[in-house]
């Protein structure tokens, strides 16, 4: 650097993160600078625009905006902006506008990268700033984000209003009026502690009581709704909305264990700005044929991209996309029943794999099965269920959920069986484990009943929980299978690349990223008797036991979140650029930030696999059968 440029270096060195930087790095900054003047009112960075510069304000002031156009930050002399996009795909994530005449020092991406790699302070500063600012941004007034980040408990305005199930109609109406509530919880008080039994709403009173001119002495238990849909106090507001839309209910009791914390109404949520994926779900249930469903299925990807841009985490995105997929299946089943008539025996439609785990993304196939009532007689009933399975499966394929290559679909007679047969399947898998058979049945250990007699699916979950944790051999085989796929990390922390279909050197973020993690989490979850299906929820259950160290479960959760979010962003980027999303990532498509953190995440997975091998004695073939 020319000594005559000291003035410029002296200005920079007064401001974090440059204040403790060695001189040679500062010199690199100065000699790379391009100076640009912006008049007040000029848009310096436009949303989505390519930007290869870190911007340093030498004089003036700049306003930074969120995508929504909401003001996010106001910064001045000595502060930097533009780093958010540089950490990712060099596209502007936060637009910037000069509010005073500004002199900006633009620092090129190559220098940014050099600083990021060589100066820990700098890397921490831009990353931590990124995170903390993003977090504050998320928790700001931004309403669609609040749906995703705020818990349902925030909507509870008052203690629940309840009455025993023994009250009469008139008494119930009086309690509701006195307390000014639109729903009354009805408690069964025969046991040790009162348990939630039913609910009655304003609407029920009008439609069931008044319309039918019921006497005021009618026991409330005769007209209340039972088999209540409830939601856990830990749920996010957006999950509550999904649940309401799924089940077409307008009131949700919020539960903490068996205890009711409160009731939230649809109107409580509607006060929040509505989020597109939720509209999509309600829209699905308004479609009356496959053509209509296919049409709106095109919006799934927009919805996905929007959530990514809203900085939703992978759990939220996975649940929302799985919720959408579930809604398509449910609506197709309803349409199928309309077309074919009511089912001859009760049945449960099960989702398997990523949909059951609430970890679905946009590149997905369908994995499903039918559990039929034990009164099922193949000769008499199977024609109906085959037709129904085919209707749903074809419909899903129309909506972008491709047929399962492994034929794990209800159209396959093997996976369209009565409950007793299913119980035998699971008992056999667990008690007589065979490596190969288990490899193909892994997916059945992530299951969720989504339509019909969902209790059948719950019975299967109970059976799994009862048997799996005590079958060491089963866990050993499951663990061995979970070790088949390793993270793509070489000995010297280099990425191990494979050639993809387009002859590009890539690594697969699903096969060698998220899948190995969810596989190993499944083993631990089954070992500790967890009923959860979602990997994050399973980790929480595992964390409650002493199976793994707290640090290790925490690290694994972070690793899964990071790998998932990189995979999600990779897909969202492809969609935005009009390409077909996939799971194959080229290292050069990642920012230095992502590359480095991805390596850390893979290292954590690799260590977790070592622990799995040790814990379940899954090493080597010494105990082969």
């Amino acid at each position: 650097m020319q000594a005559e440029l000291l003035d410029i270096r002296n200005h920079i060195v007064q401001h974090a993160p440059f204040d403790e930087m060695p001189e040679e790095l500062l010199d690199r900054i100065v000699t790379g600078i391009e100076v640009v003047y912006y008049r007040a009112g000029t848009q310096v960075l436009e949303l989505g625009q390519q930007n290869h510069w870190l911007h340093y304000i030498r004089s003036g002031a700049v306003e930074i905006f969120r995508r929504s156009g909401e003001l996010y930050n106001r910064i001045g002399e000595g502060e930097i902006f533009g780093q958010f996009g540089l950490l990712r795909n060099q596209k502007v994530r936060f637009p910037a506008k000069a509010i005073e005449d500004c002199l900006i020092y633009k620092i090129p991406y190559e220098t940014f990268q050099l600083l990021w790699e060589n100066d820990e302070n700098f890397a921490d500063f831009v990353e931590i700033e990124d995170h903390s600012r993003l977090r504050t941004a998320v928790s700001r007034k931004h309403k669609s984000n609040e749906l995703m980040s705020a818990k349902v408990t925030r909507l509870i305005a008052r203690a629940p209003v309840s009455a025993p199930t023994t009250v009469r109609l008139q008494e119930a109406a009086r309690i509701m009026t006195d307390n000014g509530v639109s729903a009354l919880l009805l408690m069964d008080e025969t046991g040790d502690s009162p348990r939630l039994k039913g609910i009655i709403t304003d609407r029920d009173l009008r439609t069931r009581a008044v319309t039918n001119a019921l006497p005021s002495e009618t026991p409330i238990s005769e007209i209340m709704s039972e088999g209540l849909i409830t939601i856990s106090a830990r749920s996010y507001i957006f999950e509550a909305m999904l649940t309401m839309l799924h089940n077409n209910v307008h009131h949700l009791p919020v539960m903490e264990g068996h205890e009711v914390r409160g009731v939230i109404a649809l109107s409580d949520i509607v006060k929040y700005e509505s989020q597109s994926s939720l509209y999509l779900v309600s829209n699905i249930f308004h479609q009356n044929d496959i053509k209509g469903l296919r049409k709106i299925s095109r919006e799934v990807r927009d919805s996905f991209v929007r959530m990514v841009n809203e900085d939703a985490n992978s759990h939220m995105i996975g649940s929302a996309i799985a919720g959408i997929g579930r809604s398509f299946s449910q609506r197709l089943l309803e349409l199928g029943e309309e077309k074919l008539g009511p089912p001859p025996v009760p049945y449960c439609f099960m989702a398997l794999g990523s949909m059951a785990r609430d970890e679905q993304l946009v590149v997905t196939d369908q994995d499903n099965a039918l559990v039929l009532d034990d009164s099922f007689i193949p000769e008499e009933h199977d024609e109906y269920f085959l037709a129904l399975a085919k209707f749903v499966s074809d419909g899903l394929a129309e909506c972008g959920y491709t047929y399962c290559t492994g034929d794990i679909m209800a159209t396959n007679p093997k996976w369209r069986q009565p409950l007793c047969v299913w119980k035998n399947y699971f008992t056999d898998w667990i008690e007589n484990p065979k490596a190969e058979a288990l490899l193909n049945s892994n997916i059945f250990f992530d299951l969720d009943g989504i339509h019909g007699e969902t209790d059948f699916a719950e019975q299967l979950k109970t059976l799994i929980v009862d048997k799996a944790s005590s079958s060491q051999r089963f866990l050993t085989f499951l663990a061995r299978n979970a070790l088949n796929r390793t993270p793509p990390l070489g000995f010297f922390r280099t990425f191990v690349l494979e050639e993809d279909g387009k002859h590009q050197k890539t690594f697969n973020l699903k096969r060698r990223g998220t899948a190995p993690v969810s596989d190993l989490i499944r083993v631990h979850a089954l070992a500790c008797g967890s009923r959860s299906q979602n990997s994050f929820e399973r980790l929480r259950d595992i964390g409650k036991t002493k199976l793994m160290l707290d640090d290790d479960t925490g690290n694994l959760r972070d690793a899964l979140e990071f790998i998932s979010i990189v995979r999600i962003r990779h897909q969202a980027l492809a969609i935005e650029e009009g390409r077909e999303p996939d799971n194959n990532v080229r290292p050069e498509d990642l920012s230095p930030f992502e590359r480095s953190h991805l390596k850390d995440a893979f290292q954590i997975v690799s260590n977790a696999q070592k622990f799995l091998r040790f814990r379940y004695n899954a090493g080597g073939a010494t105990r082969n059968v």
Binding site: Q2, E4, L5, L6, D7, I8, N10, H11, V30, T31, G32, I33, E34, V35, V36, Y37, Y38, R39, T42, R58, S59, G60, E100, D101, C102, L103, K106
Partner: protein
């Protein structure tokens, strides 16, 4: 923004001047400079490669004083590349007065060890060639360079410059208030580099050397164009 200002004098046909110069020049460097050509007068200023240029001199008279240092930085309206800047101290042929030493912050030993301008004509011309010089106060750089060239290679160099001070002068034609106005407290408008910069919100530079002043001039021109002209303004509206 359409501009009512026109600093440039259209009479001079610079491209033609360059053409003739290329035919007549003896010195190789000067010929190369002319051969690189001059942008057509109607070229938008946003498309013109520019070179902010500043000389520190022992005085104001080209015939009596000498160049002590040269600072320059190439730029365009879209950015000033600090990595491309150049600063050179040269040994004046005339004795250096003590007073000017303090002004320029250049020590005797620096000057004693500095090369003669002739030795650095190569790099100087490399930077000049293909670019329109931008200066603050046109009566320094062009005349001093011509005297220096006359003394060393017996040739002169004709080229247009953009003068940021001239632009300020035209923006503030009545910058010296009448006695009446002075009585009312009106201050004269200064068109010096540092004062002009303040009007555009440009920062104050603590040090003064040819390079920082060249950079300051480049920044000032960017600001002037964005405030009073536009990147589409023909270069001939600006050069003199």
């Amino acid at each position: 923004m359409s501009s009512i200002l026109r600093v440039g004098k259209r009479k001079q046909n610079w491209p033609e001047t360059y053409q003739k110069g290329a035919e007549q020049a003896e010195d190789q460097r000067i010929r190369a400079f002319y051969e690189a050509g001059c942008p057509a007068p109607e070229t938008p200023i946003g498309d013109v490669p520019l070179l902010a240029l500043d000389f520190e001199t022992t005085g104001l008279e080209a015939a009596q004083h000498s160049i002590v240092s040269i600072g320059l930085v190439p730029f365009t309206l879209s950015g000033i590349q600090l990595g491309q800047c150049w600063h050179q101290v040269v040994r004046p042929r005339l004795p250096l007065h003590k007073t000017s030493i303090t002004i320029h912050g250049i020590t005797h030993s620096e000057i004693e060890n500095a090369p003669d301008l002739e030795e650095v004509l190569g790099p100087l011309f490399e930077h000049l060639t293909g670019r329109i010089p931008v200066v603050h106060y046109r009566n320094i750089e062009r005349p001093f360079l011509n005297v220096a060239l006359q003394n060393r290679v017996s040739e002169r160099l004709s080229f247009p410059v953009i003068d940021t001070m001239e632009i300020e002068a035209q923006l503030h034609p009545k910058r010296n208030p009448s006695r009446w106005q002075q009585l009312l407290g009106k201050k004269p408008v200064s068109i010096r580099l540092a004062d002009s910069r303040l009007r555009y919100g440009l920062p104050h530079y603590a040090s003064h050397n040819a390079l920082i002043d060249a950079i300051a001039t480049a920044e000032l021109l960017q600001a002037q164009i964005l405030h009073h002209f536009s990147p589409d303004t023909p270069v001939s509206d600006l050069w003199v």
